[in-house]
Symmetry: C2
């Protein structure tokens, strides 16, 4: 089953974390793969790392906009291990996960750091073995067409527009 949390609103990643907690509560095995997130900054990591049956992989700890003077080629090579991990998940049938969450891969696709066609093919194959949740703003149409469930987190109102900064425990 393939599920997408998309849109410009809040709740894409937090909903996937809730999904992880729900699955773990049933004793399911879960894999979370994040890109471009400084996990130390995000509160959830402190809880998630302590939970059994969750394998947590994080690649490239910073959003590309904070990575100055880095070539596109270098960024691409930093994304390779994430794609390798996806290939590995597809190849290991013996230790498959019940739920795989792919967080913020959209940025890598947008910046052509990961090949779109290969990503879509890997996710398609994986979603036949495991429940897969993919989160982030904007994904290729092929992925949306393929998905079993798509939810748009739509921003109706946000305190950012009143000049309020990101809040600890809320946005991170």
């Amino acid at each position: 089953m393939l599920m997408l949390n998309i849109g410009d609103g809040k709740g894409k990643t937090t909903a996937s974390i809730g999904q992880i907690i729900r699955s773990l509560g049933h004793g399911f095995k879960v894999c979370l793969i994040q890109l471009f997130k400084d996990n130390d900054f995000y509160g959830e990591q402190n809880i998630l790392l302590k939970l059994e049956n969750l394998d947590f992989f994080s690649f490239i700890k910073k959003h590309p906009c904070y990575l100055d003077n880095i070539s596109s080629e270098r960024l691409k090579s930093l994304c390779d291990p994430a794609v390798d991990k996806l290939r590995e998940l597809n190849s290991i049938n013996s230790k498959r996960y019940d739920l795989v969450v792919l967080d913020e891969f959209n940025i890598a696709l947008r910046d052509r750091l990961i090949d779109e066609n290969e990503f879509v093919a890997l996710v398609e194959k994986l979603s036949r073995m495991s429940n897969v949740v993919v989160t982030g703003r904007g994904y290729p149409k092929a992925l949306i067409d393929m998905a079993d469930l798509v939810t748009e987190m739509k921003e109706i109102k946000h305190y950012y527009s009143n000049g309020v900064q990101a809040q600890k425990g809320i946005e991170y």
Copy 2:
């Protein structure tokens, strides 16, 4: 700060659970109040109950549509402890929570089991002391107007429409 997760799509409750995990990860104190949920059924309870700094209150363990032959007056009286808890949270400044999540109160408001004006007033006061997340389909306009952040979880596509049933670890 008052935040609402509304809409017909998936992710309202799971996003609030993710928010809880994020807040707990920063060492914040959190209170979750749920109505009408058979918590034994939902996987998340098995994880949430083990976490420190989270107080979890659940009232009326079944959705009203599964409560046959119960009078509206009786249902109302079953909701009273939930409102009492909200009053208590507003009165105890010494042991306030950093985050309070109110899940599925919309059903009680829709069926007039909880007085709308009192609920809005209690949430308004509480949101000045704590971050408050309210989840569910459809809330009074007064609450939406008052909120600092409103996200609509919008169903773009759902496997329910293909006749697929609710999935363990996904919907519950």
